[in-house]
Structure formats: structure tokens, C-alpha cells
Symmetry: C2
Subunit: 352 residues, 2 copies
């Protein structure tokens, strides 16, 4: 009654390093194939065998060798976060990375950060990933209405998700912030405060959310009967110094606005500086509503009405969506839009 000790070639005793399938095979007396199949719960393996294998695997802390799996199956278990080296102001990357890794922690996926210089080709990192099979899924941001990265990834069938939407008739997973709603509500807020001449610090025109934010802004102007003041092509991708100088000029002109909608938190900082350089006072000469990814403005300039965009949650949504896409869930079910959170009063705590 000592088990089925057949006299098979009896795979040579596995070495001393980290356990592999061979180790388990040796310990259980089973074949390597059997162990492999048992661990992935294949239907042609006996229930008791599976149990035994699982037990041993757990005991010795078996973890599949990623290189082995990847070489054999092509599955990398990698999600690639593609980002511009430049998209850095106000650190949107940090909470994004945190959010993504929170989700990936419960999966076999690793997060690889793949940067590119905005001055160069945004397609380069995508091509690299496609050519080398570097990842099972990709997360991209700063999407454009007709985004060549989306086109390429779709054509080549590599799962991905975008932070931001597109307008190319391609159904794909995305997560986005409702910038239309944000701008609309911002206008409402300003008008309620008696402001009538509003300016918008908008995204650069080539990005998709430019038109979203503009649309919300304009719809707000119509619904709440306010007027637009032009900021002459200055947008959130300009440097803070440029924004400040331009806004100082605007505030000194006859055309000075009395209400400001800022599409970015760091932009808001420059706007405040410009306003003050023009000897105006925030809350008195003008009010401002800004989209923010953190609490700083609220702490330092509580006069500013802030609407919070939770980037960490965005990271989580994006991660869930890529994985869903990889798992074959239909793209339609992997799209989400987050609403701006009005930030009331002051005291909200910041973690750590």
C-alpha cells in the first residue's frame, strides 16, 4: 500500500533552486504534464490528483516561471502603461499608477511603464509593444478624436483601454472624466455667483476632451446666459509662465472676464498668479472654478471652487477595463465615465 510506485524513467531529482513543475512532478510521482494540467484545473485530471497537486504546489510555494509561460504561450502577463515623459505637471501619473497597481495586485499582471518623448512619435511605443509582444494589454492617455494609436492597436488586435474617448467609430474600452458636465456645472456655479463674462482655460485642441469641455462650457453659457471671453488659444499645455502672462494681459484689458473655468489644477495656479499680477483679487474681481486632481488648491486657495477628478479611481477603472478586454469581455461593457465631484467646504482629509 505504498502508492503506485511504477518504475518510470523517474524524472531526475529536481535541483535545489526554486520549485518548478518538475519538482512537483517528482514529489507527487506524477508526470510533468499531469501536474501542469492539474494546476489549471483541466477536465481530464482526477479530482483527487488535482487536490494533491494543489496541496504540494502550495506547500512548496510553487509559482509558474513567467519566462517559461511567456516563451511557450506568448502570454506576457504584462500591462503596459504608455505615457509621455512630459505629461507631468501636478503629477497625474502618481495616483494613476497607484490605482492601476491596486487592481493588478490581485492578478498575475505586472505593470510596465513605457514612456515616450512627446516631441517624438507617439506611435513608437505602441509599435514597440506590438513588434516585440511586450504586453498583453496597453493603457494610453491623451487621446485624440482620430487617434492613430487606437487605430493601430485595433487593427492588430491588441487589447487596450484609453483614458479619454475617441471619435472614430471604433468601439473600444475607455475611461473618461465627464468634462462636458464639469464645464457646464462650472458655468452654472459662476453664474450663480453673479458672474457673466467667463473665460475657459481649455485643453489643447487636438485632444478629444477639448471639444467635450468646450461643448459643456458653451451649453452652460447658453443655458445660464453668460458671455464668453476669449483666451486666444492659450491652453493647459502651455507653460505656467505663458498662462500667467497671457492671463495678466487679459485681466488688464477692457475685455477682462469676471469668471474663470480652469481645465487643469496647475493651470489654475498660473491663472491666479496672472490675476494677482494684474492687481485683481480672486473672489472679488473674479471667481474661479477649477478641475483638480488633488486637494492643494483647496488648502491654499479656498476661494477657488474645485471639482475633483479622482485619478486613482481612473487608474483602477482603466486596469479593470484592460483586463476585461484581455479576457474577452465586449468593449461596450468596458466603458465608463466619471462625474466631477463638487468639493464642499474645507476639512476633507488627505491620506497620509
Amino acid at each position: 500500500m505504498d502508492g503506485k510506485t511504477k518504475n518510470r524513467p523517474l524524472t531526475p531529482p529536481p535541483d535545489g533552486g526554486r520549485p518548478t513543475l518538475k519538482t512537483i512532478a517528482f514529489m507527487t510521482g506524477l508526470g510533468i504534464t499531469t501536474v501542469s494540467r492539474a494546476l489549471k484545473d483541466a477536465p481530464d485530471i482526477g479530482a483527487e490528483t488535482k487536490e494533491r497537486v494543489r496541496l504540494v504546489a502550495k506547500q512548496i510555494g510553487y509559482q509558474p516561471n513567467r519566462a517559461g509561460v511567456r516563451l511557450r504561450t506568448g502570454k506576457t502577463n504584462v500591462i503596459s502603461l504608455v505615457l509621455t515623459l512630459e505629461e507631468e505637471i501636478m503629477g497625474i501619473t502618481s495616483p494613476m499608477v497607484v490605482g492601476i497597481t491596486e487592481v493588478l495586485a490581485g492578478t498575475p499582471y505586472h505593470l510596465v511603464v513605457t514612456p515616450y518623448s512627446a516631441t517624438k512619435d507617439a506611435l513608437a511605443p505602441i509599435r514597440y509593444i506590438l513588434d516585440t509582444g511586450a504586453a498583453d494589454g496597453v493603457i494610453i492617455s491623451r487621446t485624440e478624436p482620430h487617434d492613430p494609436r487606437v487605430a493601430l492597436l485595433t487593427e492588430r488586435g491588441l487589447p487596450f483601454v484609453t483614458h479619454g474617448r475617441t471619435e472614430m467609430g471604433v468601439v473600444h474600452p475607455y475611461h473618461d472624466f465627464d468634462n462636458e458636465r464639469f464645464a457646464y456645472e462650472a458655468v452654472r456655479e459662476l453664474v450663480e455667483r453673479g458672474r457673466k463674462r467667463l473665460v475657459l482655460l481649455e485643453p489643447p485642441p487636438h485632444l478629444t476632451f477639448y471639444s467635450h469641455m468646450r461643448a459643456g462650457f458653451e451649453r452652460g453659457l447658453r443655458d445660464f446666459q453668460a458671455d464668453a471671453v476669449s483666451f486666444h488659444h492659450i491652453n493647459i499645455d502651455h507653460t505656467l509662465v505663458e498662462i500667467r502672462d497671457a492671463f495678466e494681459t487679459l485681466m488688464r484689458s477692457d475685455d477682462a472676464p469676471d469668471g474663470i473655468v480652469s481645465g487643469s489644477g496647475s493651470g489654475a495656479i498660473a491663472l491666479i498668479a496672472g490675476l494677482e499680477a494684474a492687481k485683481k483679487t480672486l473672489g472679488k474681481d473674479a471667481d474661479m472654478v477649477s478641475k483638480v486632481p488633488s486637494d492643494f488648491l483647496r488648502w491654499l486657495r479656498p476661494e477657488v471652487v474645485t471639482m475633483y477628478e479622482d485619478i486613482r479611481v481612473a487608474g483602477r477603472e482603466l486596469a479593470k477595463a484592460v483586463i476585461g478586454h484581455i479576457d474577452g469581455q465586449p468593449s461596450e461593457t468596458l466603458q465608463s465615465l466619471s462625474q466631477p465631484e463638487f468639493q464642499s467646504a474645507v476639512q476633507v482629509s488627505i491620506k497620509r
Copy 2:
């Protein structure tokens, strides 16, 4: 004269996918081994052959299969950035990641972000990397004087670099900010402004740079003859709300300081809030010097004297150091200390 068309087994025509060594071998008529060795410039391959191989490889865009290399050699070509999900305030991660990837871009290394929950075991991700051979090198931060991660990595011989120093008699690569100098200069600055009763918002005591910053602070007090005001164990790891409330209390007490040294930019924000909650005015009732990782404070509160810690540069230094360590350079040559940059006046531009 059609080359040496021997009648070898002539490896079966390589498939249509991405090129491998076999592809090049087929195209050049050489053996796979020869191609492999030629590409790594081995001494036993003819000069002309190397040239030919390199040319073909370049032409068809050959890139070694990472899984193949990793499986055979154990080399992962991965650098792992280990970070706390919580170390997030004021987004130190963003510029860090950018700095690292800037350096890695010129190498075969990929950056994998490996997070852990600070509430759990900081050793867990290190163990994971060691057990699974997930990376060739590791970057860790928030170092302690006797850091178990450093001990483990050293013992197991896995190259790493720390952001911050240790005090365990182990020589290892590091990059650090000179917090001693920062605090010392901060005291000098405050005393020059006529301040005499100084408080320090310090790092949590278990981290190495706690004692550095304290030492600099105390040396400054001695040299410039000022007094310390205790902040009762409040440190930069407390929440902003806690810091603000504690500081408000302190500012209302008889023991109120007139000079503040803030060890973190986000902490400074809370201190300002606390000070103002106590009806005091910055620049009048007290002056403040803060270490900052970005320009925000300078834009919003120019009264604060800021010393800039360039995290992006830190990322670059760290990346260079791990790679150096991997390449076998002696640890002594892979240590660097960055000096605080006094930020003069206002107008410095922020990129993008």
C-alpha cells in the same frame, strides 16, 4: 561564386512572424549559434561574418526575444521600482518614474512598478522579487537606519539602490538628498530674517533622514543661536488635517514659534493652513522655509522660502546606480548626494 552553399540540414524556413535568430541564420546561411555569438561580438567569429549578421539583423529589425533570453540566462532586463501605495502625497512618484525611464530608455531594461501596502510587510515585495527572480535590480525608498530590505537584498546578492541612506555598515549604492544641509540652511535663512524660535516638521523617526534633518536643524540652532520649539512628534507622515490642527494649537499657545522649517511640501500646506487658522500671517508673525518637489508653493505662496528637491534627477541617479551595480561597478562609486537648490525670486518656468 555563390557563397558556400553547403548541403547542411538547412534549418527549416523560419515562419512569418517576428524575426528570430533562426531567421537570420537562414538568411545568412549560418548556424543559429554563430548568429547568436556574432550579435554579441564574441571573439571566435570572423569580422566579416559579424558585419554581415549585424547588417541583416538590423535590416529585418531583429530584437531578441526577452522570454527566450530570460528563460535561458535568468537575465530579466527588468528594474523593479518598489513603492508604498501610500507614499503618494504631492506625487513624488511621477517625476521619479519619469527620471528612471529617461535613463532606462537607452538600455534594454524595462521598468516594472511593484507596490506594497505600507500597512503590510515592506519585505513582501522584496521576497517576491527574490523568489521569482522578477528583476535584475531593485530601487527602494523610505529607507531606515537598519533596513531589513537592504539586509535581505545584500545577503541574496541582488543589485539594488536606495533612495536614502542606511546605517548598518553595509556599503551599497544610494542616492539621497542632503537633508542635513537643507535643515541647516533653512535655520540660517530664518535667523537671517530675525527669527529665533524655530519649529521643525520632521520625517517620521524610523526613517534614516529623520536624524539627518534633525542634525542639520540642531547644528543650525547652535551655530546661529536660535531656539527649538517642539512639535510633539507630529511629522510629515501625519495627515494634513492632523498637521494643521496640531500647528494651529501650537501657534495659539504661549510657545508659538516664529520660524518654521518644513520637511515636506505638502506638510507646508497644512502648516500654512494651521497658522492662518490661528489668525497669524505668514511673513509677518512667522517665516517658513520648506523643502519642495515642485513649484506650486512658490507660485501660490511666494512668502515661503523654498528649497527644491529635484525628484526627477533623483530618479535618473537611482536608475544609473542600479544599472551600475548590475554591471558590477563597486558600490562606493554609486553613491550620490544632491544638494538643496535655493529657489530665488519667482518666475522660473515649469515645463509644460
